[in-house]
């Protein structure tokens, strides 16, 4: 027991001596975790994630050996992740991140506690990083706890639990949560009043979630119709812009993870385009795929359906999952850096 504590204390000291922001993030976590709203947060997460599984468990959904039951057992996990949890995360987590982070710095600035903090041996950079880390933990810990609870329920249910899928989903979701926390905390540092910070965060959330994708499609159309940029060039632009949105990046990452075909990355990226996009060009010239036709049976009739199969090579590396993941996580640094630039200049 005592050696255990010594280990923790030792680690604590090492972190403290290594990172200027460490004590700030620890204080931040201690302080914020006591807010009543955060207990509520854990409860909301748990209800949203666990209740579908718990309901399935209660209804004995997927029990037995019938064909339908087997399908549920085999595909239930993918179904939950792709149809339910991914949407829950993309819609809800940013809102919760705003709730957790919008006042992180602006409130301390208004109340004056920032003065006590900055009179200690901390630079403004330490405060910003400490706040991002601390508030990320405040959101990440209840999220992880509720996902852990969900895993437990999944194991107990008839649905086959696929730890590697759930592990990756958890990783992507927690990183996504941290990205939005970093963005809101960074926004919070740029405003002296929390109300403005909250408004700005909601605008960013709204833009990422509901506007970005459509405006990128419009940019693609403009490129083609007004500026005469045709072919692969315009589609490259559209895809790159789409992937810059952390929301889209998160979705296509989980999508790629859930795809069972030979070319999960290719299918995931391809599905990011709207229906009227030039699928053939995108398939062959943007994603290195091969445009072929599949023979499918539809209602007793045979039909030739064009489809995108894997080409000889995988998708260009800058569209691969690791790069998309890095792009998503890069938002943490981008937001913090932009924010630091303004926060460092301002009179408090």
């Amino acid at each position: 027991m005592s050696t255990q504590q010594g280990g923790f204390a030792g680690l604590d000291r090492t972190l403290r001596n290594t990172f200027g922001w460490y004590a700030v993030s620890k204080k931040e976590f201690k302080d914020a975790i006591r807010s009543k709203g955060l207990g509520l947060l854990g409860v909301i997460f748990t209800i949203l994630f666990v209740s579908p599984v718990a309901a399935a468990l209660y209804l004995d959904f997927g029990a037995g050996t019938g064909q339908q039951a087997q399908a549920i057992q085999q595909q239930g996990m993918q179904f939950l992740l792709s149809n339910l949890y991914t949407n829950t995360v993309t819609l809800l987590v940013p809102i919760v991140a705003i709730f957790v982070g919008f006042a992180a710095i602006s409130k301390e600035r208004t109340s004056g506690s920032l003065k006590l903090l900055l009179s200690l041996p901390y630079s403004r950079r330490d405060v910003l990083i400490g706040k991002v880390v601390g508030r990320s933990a405040v959101l990440g810990v209840p999220l992880l706890a509720s996902l852990g609870m969900t895993a437990l329920f999944l194991v107990l249910s008839e649905v086959t639990f696929k730890p590697e899928l759930f592990g990756l989903f958890t990783l992507f979701s927690v990183l996504f949560a941290i990205v939005f926390t970093a963005i809101t905390v960074s926004i919070s540092a740029a405003f002296s009043k929390s109300i403005w910070s909250a408004a700005a965060s909601f605008i960013v959330y709204f833009y990422f979630t509901f506007v970005w994708n459509g405006s990128v499609n419009t940019i693609g159309q403009l490129l083609q119709q007004e500026l005469g940029v045709t072919g692969a060039g315009s589609w490259h632009t559209v895809l790159l812009l789409k992937l810059l949105n952390p929301n889209q990046a998160y979705k296509t990452l989980t999508n790629s993870m859930l795809n069972t075909g030979d070319t999960p990355e290719l299918s995931a990226r391809l599905s990011m385009f709207s229906r009227n996009a030039d699928q053939q060009t995108i398939c062959t010239d943007v994603l290195n795929g091969a445009w072929t036709t599949n023979t499918v049976q539809i209602g007793g009739q045979t039909a030739q359906v064009p489809t995108c199969a894997g080409g000889g090579t995988s998708v260009p590396f800058y569209y691969s999952d690791p790069v998309v993941l890095v792009a998503m996580v890069a938002w943490i640094g981008i937001a913090a850096a932009v924010s630091y630039y303004t926060f460092d200049q301002v009179d408090l």
């Binding site: 004590a23 700030v24 807010s35 109340s111 003065k115 009179s119 200690l120 041996p121 901390y122």
Partner: protein
Amino acid sequence: MTAIELDGLRKEFADVVALDGVDLTVDEGEVFGFLGPNGAGKSTTINILLDFVRPTAGSAKVLGRDAQERSAEIGERIGVLPEGYDIYERLSAREHLEFVVESKDADDDPGALLERVGLEDAIDRRAGGYSKGMKQRLALAMALVGEPDLLILDEPTTGLDPNGAREMREVIREESDRGATVFFSSHILSQVESVCDTVGILQDGQLIAKDSVEGLRDAQGDMTMVVTVGETGGIDAALDEIRALQSVSDVDLDTDEVTIGCERDAKMAVLNAFEDNGIPVEDFETQEASLEDLFSSYTEQEVQA
């Protein structure tokens, strides 16, 4: 080494000049009282020392380091009680102090620190429920962590009752005896007088005087006496005698009230003059020169010199 060095410090906000070229040196080990009416620029000066606010021109050095470039490093060796601060309402006094101890890599015992400021009973209570005076005590305890070389206290007695203010002065003396430099601001003269070695007076963004406390007392000299007399018959003789006193500058009669502008030590001579001329004194009160009067007496001196 000097503890604080301001050189041509100037700060303009959108529509006002808060500091207009302040030069000031505070030596190590000094207890320095930074005086001035509200709005004179005291807090702006302190905010620049702490790098909350960036100067428009000039420079500020704290413990030999540039206040802007090396604020985190300066933070290791100073203790601060800022103006307009707030504490973390969900953390207890102990947790506040543990955080500061950790931040400064010190090893102070939170209990002992709180005992020094008289807050030991509330050590494990969440600070959200503290009164203004308790918050002030907690903030002072936080400033004392790690035996800082320099204490910067902005209006430290705000929110304290007279007893609390006395304890605050005691702490300042203890810290000074330990060898720390203390720099504190105030708009209340009596607080500055009893603990300071040196006093600086700031007015309208300019340092109009820097002097020892004795020098300040001499300059303070003037006071106003208001004497209520029971009988005005034959008072002229008394008034003439009072006017003749060297330390009296101004005498004014209004029905039964005589207002006399004089130096502090003239009080007995004035009262004797009434008595000698058979004028009964029913009541008298003295008004000390206010800080504003003091400022004006300093500015007048500056002009004369």
